[in-house]
């Protein structure tokens, strides 16, 4: 029984983080058809902001808000640097600029801060443990579950209830038609990048909280996770991305519990082969997104 509870908590906390990562990637992809390779660097930006303000006397929550803010700003910067100037050109050009922007940010961090890990401030509660139904679990896991639940609900509410949210869902199916109703393209695009940054920033707090340090390459793993989760869940569907996050967390956790050590090393090879197979079977991912779509 305790093992089962342990498993559920592991899946939910990992899945919460994965779902947020995937959602941040898919909100941009769904509307702009841009696979944002610089997505991981939003997490990096939040991490380094935490490091840079760590010496200040600010309370941790303020630091966290600043870090999330930095991720939002970096997200919007992606739009202006890597997306807007080439968006009319070709899909490949946009992919390459986002990849170049990712390299740019990583190396800027190396150059201006350090290639070596830097420790980030964390609140006490992150290292506490809690006993729940007889299971000892890090409080961080429960915080992750709670944060994911709150953020996902807020996000859903915003997408359903606000005009801008409805406009974004509309833009994801038919961008030009949305514009012909007066929905400003630039506002929708910037909002998508800002939301992507907001989610990445929050993920950064939870994700980096596990290791307590930040390095320039820290964004790669979340990016890969977001890739797999969105492909599993459907690259065009917001609900699918969340589902994919939890599904991937389930697969990962199950493999962790069951695979022998020397096969576990190849876990990434398995999950990414799964990605390839899913895309072959259904190029749009498992959950079908909105019917048609086009780029701006």
């Amino acid at each position: 029984m305790t093992a089962a509870i342990q498993f559920v908590i592991d899946v939910l906390s990992l899945g919460g983080a994965y779902a947020l990562m995937a959602l941040g990637l898919v909100i941009v992809y769904g509307i702009l058809r841009l696979v944002n390779f610089a997505y991981g660097e939003l997490i990096m930006a939040a991490g380094y902001t935490l490091y840079l303000v760590s010496a200040s006397p600010l309370p941790w929550l303020v630091m966290a808000v600043l870090a999330v803010g930095a991720a939002v700003v970096t997200g919007i910067a992606t739009d202006y640097v890597a997306f807007r100037p080439v968006r009319a050109k070709s899909v490949t050009a946009v992919l390459i600029t986002s990849f170049a922007f990712s390299t740019l940010l990583q190396n800027a961090a190396q150059l201006l801060i350090s290639p070596r890990p830097r420790s980030i401030p964390l609140p006490e509660v992150f290292s506490d443990t809690v006993t729940l139904f007889g299971v000892v679990t890090p409080a961080r896991n429960l915080i992750t579950i709670a944060a994911a639940a709150v953020l996902l609900s807020l996000f859903t509410l915003a997408m359903r209830r606000t005009v801008l949210g409805i406009a974004m869902r509309a833009a994801a199916t038919h961008f030009t038609m949305a514009r012909m109703l007066g929905v400003p393209a630039n506002l929708v695009i910037s909002t998508a990048f800002a939301i992507s940054g907001l989610l990445a920033g929050t993920v950064a707090l939870l994700w980096l909280g596990r290791i307590g340090t930040v390095v320039p390459r820290v964004g790669l793993e979340p990016l890969l996770i977001a890739f797999i989760a969105t492909v599993i869940g459907g690259m065009r569907s917001l609900e699918g991305a969340v589902l994919g996050g939890f599904l991937l967390a389930f697969i990962d956790t199950a493999l962790n519990y069951s695979l022998p050590q020397d096969l576990l090393k190849f876990r990434d090879a398995f999950t990414f082969s799964l990605v390839i197979l899913i895309l072959l079977w259904r190029p749009a991912g498992l959950v079908r997104g909105p019917a048609t779509g086009q780029r701006t």
Binding site: V163, M180, G182, V183
Partner: protein, 236 residues
Amino acid sequence: MALAVEALEVRYGGIRAVRGVDIEVGDGEVVALLGANGAGKSSTLLAIAGAIRPYAGRVRLDGRDVTGSIPERMVRAGVAMVPETRDVFPDLTVEENLRLGAYVRRRDRADVEADRAAMFALFPRLAERAEQTAGTLSGGEQQMLVIARAMMSRPRLLLLDEPSLGLAPTIVEQIFAMIARLAATGLSILLVEQNVGKALAVADRAYVMRLGRIAAAGPARELAAAADLKEHYLGG
């Protein structure tokens, strides 16, 4: 509202889809734009709406030059477009589709609410399906939805592209009845149609396009009386 299109040209790569077209729509006037497939009618409409950039020529609204404006600005200027592709947002409910139609005046909550009630009164079928997603509607209902959605921006000029395309005759009757009612409110309409008879019945004036140019123009009644219209210009 007065729309004046002068010497409009639209190109796709090397292909000249519209080759110097002049069109005028006066205040409260219903003007039909007729022609065979590929004559350049839809391209003309899309260029007016700002969805594609004209290669040459001018588009004026009440004398103001709006050539090459982005689509969202055209909506603000009072021009609403209903493309022939009948682009409802299939995952959004009917209600949400209409709400989006009022995007440019979203702060005006009371008025938007009143307009929605008016649209539901005009299209009772939509009222019944308000909470359904638009993808589940029939073709005729979707056509009603896109017209109602366009009206939610309170346009002064409505660009309608082939509203009868692929619909059953009874539905076509209804759609044209709606167009007549909208026209009676003083709305200016530029209507692209292949259904010549219906279009000329509802229009004040008409233009006939052929191979990217205006081939004939005149009062709707006169064009309707010209027996050779069909075979000459519509490739019919």
